[in-house]
Every structure is written in C-alpha cells, then in structure tokens.
Symmetry: C2
Subunit: 287 residues, 2 copies
C-alpha cells in the first residue's frame, strides 16, 4: 500500500517497503507563542527558517499549522503554505481543524498534499472528505470520534475502518488514507503505548493502510522525553507505522527512525545509514 | 515464566512482567587483549573495576568470561568469579565453552548462577545439562546446532524446543532455560534482524520461555553501532526478549532499555525512569 504525496516538483512515497517518512512538526503555533504572534503580525521569517532547518535535518515532509487565537487562520495558513513552498520542495501536511482554512490552503497548494486530519465523526467526515476528493489529497484519519478516545484497541480499529469505508464511498482509495491509531501519554495511563501498538496490529492485519502518529504525545509529562519517544517510534515501526509527525531535528529520534529502517530492511546494506554517518563525521572534523 | 538467579545475598528475576535485565558484557578477554594478558598474569584489578563500573551503570547481572589463548581457563574463570563476587552481589552469568572451566566455576559460585551457554548439539547438551542440574543453575540455550546457524526462524525455533525438551529430560524446568534466538549482523545479511524477531515470535508463542541475546552482534561492522543495537533491543523487547548480554555503560542502550520498560508497562508511572533522570540531573549539576 503506497501513499503518494507531491509538491510541485517532488514525490514522496509512504509505504512499508520504503524508508520511514518523518513529517517535521515544528511549524505549529500551538505551544509556540512567539511564532504565533509573529505569524499573526505577518512575519513568516521563522516559518521559513523552521522549514529549512527541518528539511536539512532529514524531514521528508513538513506539517504546517497556523492555528493561533489572535490570527485569521485561513489567511495565515495560506501564507505559511506559500512561504514554505518557496524554500523547499518537500511535500506538505496541511494541518487545520477549520474547514475554511483547509479549503483555502488546498486551493493554494501546488501538488498532492496530505491533510491533517479528519476524525470518525460523521459531521467531520462529510465536511472534509469531499475536499480531499476535490483536491486529490491524502488525509490522516484519527481513530477517535464523538464518543471520545477509546482505550479499547478494537474500538479504535473499528473507527479506522469506518473512516476508510466512508472515504471509499466518496471515491477516495485506501491508499490515500493514513490512519493515526492515537498515542496518549504513558505518564497518565501506563497501558497507553500497548493500547496503541495493539490497535496498530489490528489495523495492519485487517486494513493494511499506512499509519502515522504524533509520537511525542506518548511521553508527554515525563522527564527526558526524546528516548521514550524514540523507543516508541521503533516499536511502532515494527507494528506497521510508516510515517510520523515528529521532531526530525532531534538526533535521538532521527537515529531511532533510521536505525529501525536498517533493521527492518528499508535501507539495504545500510547505505543511507553509512552515508549519514560519514556526513556527521565530516561535519564533526570541521569543528 | 520466571527465571530466578541468585548470588549469595541477592535475587534477580527475569520475566516478561519484570524490568528488563541487563547482563553486563564487559568482563570478557575476547577482543580485549590487555584484559586477557592481565588475567593470564594473575592481575584481576581490571576485572574488579569493570564489575563495579557495570553495576554502577545499572547492570543487574554480570557475564564473566575468562577464555584467553595463553591462559589456564578453569583457574582464571574461578578467580574471576571469586573476584567479582567480592565486589558485587549481582548474580553472575558464567561464560565458557570449556566444560572443565564451567564445572570448576559452578563449584566456586555461591548462589544460583546462569550458564552461558549450551547449543542444540547432542554432545554439548549431554555434557552441560547434567552440570546445570547438579548445581541447580539456569542456562542460556543457543538456537543453533551442528548444522550451523539457520536463517529459517522455524528451524531456530525447533532447536530451541529441542533444548527445552532435553533439559526437561534431565529434570531441568523450562523456567531455568533462557533461549537465545541468535542475532547476526544486518551488515552481512539485511534480513538478519527480521529473522531474529520472527524466531522470537514463534518461541514466545509456542514455548513461552525467557529469551536473551547478544544484542550488539546485530550491528557488527556498521558505523555508529549503539543506536542500531539500542533500536534492536527495543524491537526485541516487544517480541519477548527479557534480558540481554549487553553494554550497560552505554547511555543510548541503557536509555532504550529503560524507556522500553516504561512503554511496555514494566515501570508503572515511570517511577524508575523518573528517579534515574533525577539522579542524572543531580550529577549534572555537581559538574
């Protein structure tokens, strides 16, 4: 199952046979007040820099979110998308829960984007799926609905299936659906990671769609989060996770993803690994 | 399934419900010429220091090997065991392929040791299993035999079952057998890690015994080995690995193991994780 995303000039394939795709998470004013205030004031220089930094770190795609209380989200999102498209050919994930902003961004985007995201709620599905079809996008489907986030893997998987079937009703193939099995923090519920992994097992076996998650959520509230996030990404990759919205600039996370690619056969004879290491060694000797 | 190891004063339990057990690998003259020469000359000060360092780093058990070309292995192994027993109460893994050395070390060891190791070869089983029974030890069973190391998970699992059944014939319960599903390097064969993981799946489902491996072997020959070893340990822990002979002094490996303990529910509410981080932070602020 291959999910194909495109910018104007570049194609990225998300699939179990391809290297894991890191979708850079940084361009998001949630929790970044300074960024949000700048964007609301029309200053997108940080957006530009963050795009360049994440791509340089190895993110193959970038998530772009412009949700900020003081701002005009549709306008800000379009400007952010256009800004990022100027500095990188990485395909983008358009991240908004405001349908008007989504539609404006989809109209401005050049290529085949990923939309982040839709849930299992009928109201959301019926608003967003037609846009996905209209603009030939792919979409991340969150495995929760109006009843909330279930800790039962079977229920999460059932919502995932509902999203895939509803998308098919709208003429959207399963290859354009990436399911997010939901990562909640183990700090609040020690079973949280195992619930996500079991959900992935079921979805992998029964639906076969690509899967994504906001991996950092698994460690929220704990000290030393990167090693926990990194270990969770590794575990999830053995259960069918093929991409994640994550911090590609964090070395521990990047190492875990790339090492797992080697171990799972997505980097035969460790060609990518070895070249990344040579580059690191070369940079180190320049210092 | 609980495998219980003991020193004179301390008990360590290896099981899927307990934290992962790191068995420190450093006391081994293979590839450490200086150490081997010192031991052959009767100098065990480095053995003493390495024992202390590994335990301080968090290894719950220590592997002790005295196989060195120039030395009298039985004598060296007994001295090494006694030396280590003086400085730590961590239970030990007695590591030798020389039956005479094994027997001497088992007689000198105080407590219930782990023996590293036996293979599926009839000759080895019939020589070593009676010693295991006589000294009430536990033993690591390697999933290879006189035909070599198979890349077929079913064959490896069949050898594992042979070892468990033969041990039962000798009055040794499955709880005292830890199977090593064999980790070969992905540098030579890109399928190596997946073969090991699949072997573990079969053994976990059909035999339910504890499992160990020399995790570092998976990355032999590659640059930047620790992240690959660490990712492999994480993957293996989701497939039933409950202990490993590894380098507990390597922070990346230690982090991966402890983070995986949190994610898999062996460290409820991350109590151990948080206290290890507090200690690290405290040590950092002293510098």
């Amino acid at each position: 199952m291959e999910t194909i995303l495109q910018s104007k000039t570049k194609t990225i394939v998300i699939s179990p046979e391809h290297p894991f795709v890191m979708i850079g998470e940084r361009i998001n004013p949630t929790g970044r007040k300074k960024l949000g205030a700048e964007m609301a004031a029309g200053d997108f220089s940080r957006v530009r820099r963050d795009a360049e930094t994440q791509v340089a770190a190895g993110a193959q795609m970038l998530d772009v979110n412009a949700g900020f209380p003081m701002g005009d989200e549709p306008t800000m999102l379009v400007t952010a998308i256009k800004t990022v498209q100027q500095v990188t050919d990485a395909p983008l994930s358009i991240d908004s829960s405001v349908v008007e902003a989504l539609e404006a961004a989809l109209a401005a985007y050049e290529g085949k984007p990923l939309v982040n995201s839709v849930t299992g709620e009928d109201e959301r599905l019926e608003k967003i799926l037609p846009l996905i079809k209209k603009y030939n996008a792919a979409v991340i489907g969150m495995a929760n609905d109006e009843t909330g986030i279930s800790m039962d893997p079977e229920i999460r998987a059932a919502i995932a299936e509902k999203i895939v079937r509803r998308a098919q009703d709208h003429g959207i193939p399963p290859a354009d659906i990436i399911i997010d099995p939901l990562a909640l923090t183990v700090a609040a519920d020690p079973t949280a990671a195992r619930v996500t992994l079991q959900t992935m097992r079921i979805i992998h076996e029964h639906l076969g769609v690509n899967m994504s998650c906001g991996a950092g959520n698994i460690s929220f509230g704990l000290p030393e989060r990167p090693p926990i996030t990194a270990a969770f990404l590794t575990m999830a990759m053995t259960h069918g996770l093929t991409c994640a919205i994550t911090d590609a600039t964090n070395e521990m996370i990047r190492y875990a993803v790339r090492a797992s690619d080697v171990l799972l056969g997505h980097d035969e004879y460790a060609v990518n690994w070895i070249s990344e290491f040579r580059q690191k060694k070369a940079e180190g000797s320049k210092q």
